[in-house]
């Protein structure tokens, strides 16, 4: 077993993990933080997106030993008030991709300068959603960026 000290959702965490465990398994099965989902285990769907030192990362591709001393943020750390624009825009349907989507979306919202070089659609491309066709997600990001909370976006 491996001793692991890191910062999880703003608090110090210390645990013993299987040396070959993935961060995803540690979060879900050792710590019960099941908001981070296992959609494909191949770094394709983004359902397991967490922030590692502030950058979106697929937790299925991160060996747990690599988070030692680093900062991990999961969906469980997100203030529910920040989710309201996504609720109003229809960003979630079945919900399986949603926590990962939210983690990438809020990273964009916190780093609006990215939109000088990137589009929201490009930045969200690592989160596959099979329900929404993405429009509800994109509109949620736009609403959150604009500080619009709660009211539904104008329909087409």
């Amino acid at each position: 077993m491996l001793e692991l000290d890191f910062t999880l959702n703003g608090r110090p965490a210390a645990l013993r993990v299987d040396p070959v465990a993935r961060l995803l398994d540690v979060l879900r099965y050792d710590l019960g933080l099941t908001g981070t989902k296992d959609g494909c285990s191949e770094g394709e769907c983004g359902a397991c997106t967490v922030w590692l030192d502030g950058l979106p990362t697929d937790a299925c591709l991160v060996p747990a030993f690599q988070v030692a001393g680093r900062d991990v943020r999961t969906i469980e750390s997100i203030d529910p008030d920040r989710l309201r624009p996504f609720l109003a825009s229809g960003a979630t349907q079945c919900g399986a991709c949603t926590p990962g989507v939210v983690m990438t979306a809020l990273w964009i919202v916190e780093n609006p300068d990215l939109l000088r070089s990137h589009t929201i659609r490009e930045l969200m491309a690592g989160n596959i959603c099979r329900c929404t066709g993405y429009d509800g997600i994109i509109e949620g990001v736009e609403a959150a960026l604009a500080g619009r909370f709660g009211s539904p976006p104008g329909s087409a």
Binding site: L52, T104, I128
Partner: protein, 280 residues
Amino acid sequence: MTVRRPTGLGAALDLLADRPDGDSLLPVAGGTDLFVHWPQKVDQHGRDLLDLVRIDALRGLRWSADGLELGALASYWDVIVNPRVPAVFPLLVEAARQVGAIQIQSRGTWAGNIVNGSPAADGVPVLMAYDATVVLAARDGRREVPLDAFYTGYRESVRRADELVVAIRLPLRRYALQRFVKVGPRRAQAIAKVGLAVTRSDDAGWRVVAASVAPTVRRCPTVEARLEAGPPPRDPEDLDEALRADVSPIDDVRSSARYRSRVLARVLYDAVLPASAGGR
């Protein structure tokens, strides 16, 4: 399986050198290739891991009068957000933005892309088109290998099992033309069906590098010579003969040999057109 996590490069090289069968210790950086399907693979793996992420000496980008050095832990995202790279090596940014999406760009490393040895790599073609060299270090010394001489076959290279890629060096040049084309089955998050990087500089001439059309990412010397010497290609088919000498695409689950040949010729023709025919 055990994991070794040295903080110094010397310690890492010692660990590699001390393995009688060095290859049983597998270096891992961003993990974006190694950990794909990990639960299914872990048992069949058997090899111990050498974690590189705590070796600070391998981090970051370093500029010098001669060029740019990417540390072995430099990620795609490090390049995307670097203020100088877009002006000096724009293809690095273009390629990096087409590697997976942010979740992969934030973790995947250029050195890992090289060592993983996929013929469909996105980072390797642009590095090769910029005449990158690979700095290999072992306990008994260092050597620098041109990237276009790095591969010896499908997922095989000149890297010895006791060697680590510690840096990638790119010389500064004035480029008259720089193009990167990735043809995937969708716009984002895709593995290349065809990849192409082309540069032309006054001092080094043409560099044409193709991906997903041979057992390795490879330079196309015949095409380069054809562009250097011959008249501008009249149409894509005009490049077929030279391409045939350089690449050998196959049918697989991602595409067909015919498609790869046709499309490579077309994107190459289109990429070289502005320089060889004065724009369109």
